[in-house]
């Protein structure tokens, strides 16, 4: 994992306190469909092979996951506005949110 991302996780994303996003994000239909395809591919992909018997089992405190748990960051979000709508050829999300302590 990149050391900067690891730092953010280790500090429970406290470095991002005060981050604010406001406006509208538009995503093209092509991008949405590509995302759906990617999501579907992940669901139908074969399960990862079980760990070998010789490997050391990893437990909560010592192990670091390869990807962060998004819930750790989502818990800190103060969402003031989140509107979803569609227009011809695109999906639009109107958003206003901030990262709290």
């Amino acid at each position: 994992m990149h050391p900067v991302l690891q730092h953010l996780i280790d500090n429970d994303f406290s470095d991002l306190t005060g981050t604010r996003v406001e406006g509208q994000i538009a995503l093209s239909d092509d991008l949405i469909n590509l995302g759906l395809h990617e999501l579907l591919s992940q669901f139908i992909a074969p399960a990862p092979a079980p760990q070998e018997a010789t490997s050391v089992p990893t437990t909560g405190t010592g192990a670091t996951p390869s990807t962060p748990d998004p819930r750790a960051l989502l818990r800190k979000l103060d969402v003031e506005k989140l509107h979803y709508r569609t227009e011809a050829g695109r999906t639009i999300v109107e958003i206003a949110c901030a990262v709290q302590k």
Binding site: V4, H7, L8, G18, T19, Q24, S28
Partner: protein, 182 residues
């Protein structure tokens, strides 16, 4: 300036790849403002992750109030060998595309007469070792944001950047970003 053009990094996700290939099309209609505080600890974590082959041995940043921040650096310089300086920068005006592409930081303290003379003398060598889009003189550091994005392989993102501004307050830099597609 030195450094060649980089190719766009290739992320694993097809969605991200598509997004970075044509962001203006993929995000058409987007108009979003982002305020991103960069704490002292996070900034120094980012600086610590710099490529190992840079001539700077030590590099730390210390944001202060009043739109000033100090940079502590130890670097290898031609003629004089290893030098350690604590330089104070002042943030300047915003980057506004396409009219004002430079993000500029004035050097307001930390360089003596000899330092400034040495930098002026070695201006050509300094430029050749800096990434494309980064300009350092004895009076300022400035970043040509589209050229820097180009150097990093993200040139497609440049048209989305309508405004970019950096403020400094105690222990953190605040990055204000306005992304908008035409």
């Amino acid at each position: 300036m030195g450094g060649g053009y980089a190719t766009m990094p290739s992320p694993a996700s097809p969605v991200i790849t598509s997004l970075l290939r044509e962001p203006s099309a993929a995000l058409a209609g987007t108009d979003v403002r982002l305020t991103l505080p960069l704490t002292r600890s996070l900034l120094n974590e980012i600086l610590a992750a710099r490529p190992p082959d840079t001539p700077v041995k030590q590099l730390l940043i210390d944001p202060e109030s009043g739109n000033r921040f100090r940079v502590h650096l130890t670097a290898h310089a031609p003629l004089v060998g290893s030098v350690t300086r604590r330089i104070t920068f002042a943030t300047c005006g915003p980057v506004a595309f396409p009219d004002q592409p430079w993000l500029r930081f004035d050097i307001v303290d930390g360089l003596g007469f000899l330092d400034r003379s040495l930098i002026s003398l070695l201006q050509g060598q300094i430029e050749s070792r800096l990434p494309r889009g980064v300009e350092l003189t004895s009076h300022y550091l400035r970043l040509h944001v589209p050229a820097l994005l180009n150097h990093l392989g993200y040139q497609q993102l440049a048209p989305l950047l309508h405004n970019l501004e950096v403020h400094s307050e105690a222990n953190r830099l605040i990055l204000h970003l306005h992304l908008k597609t035409d």
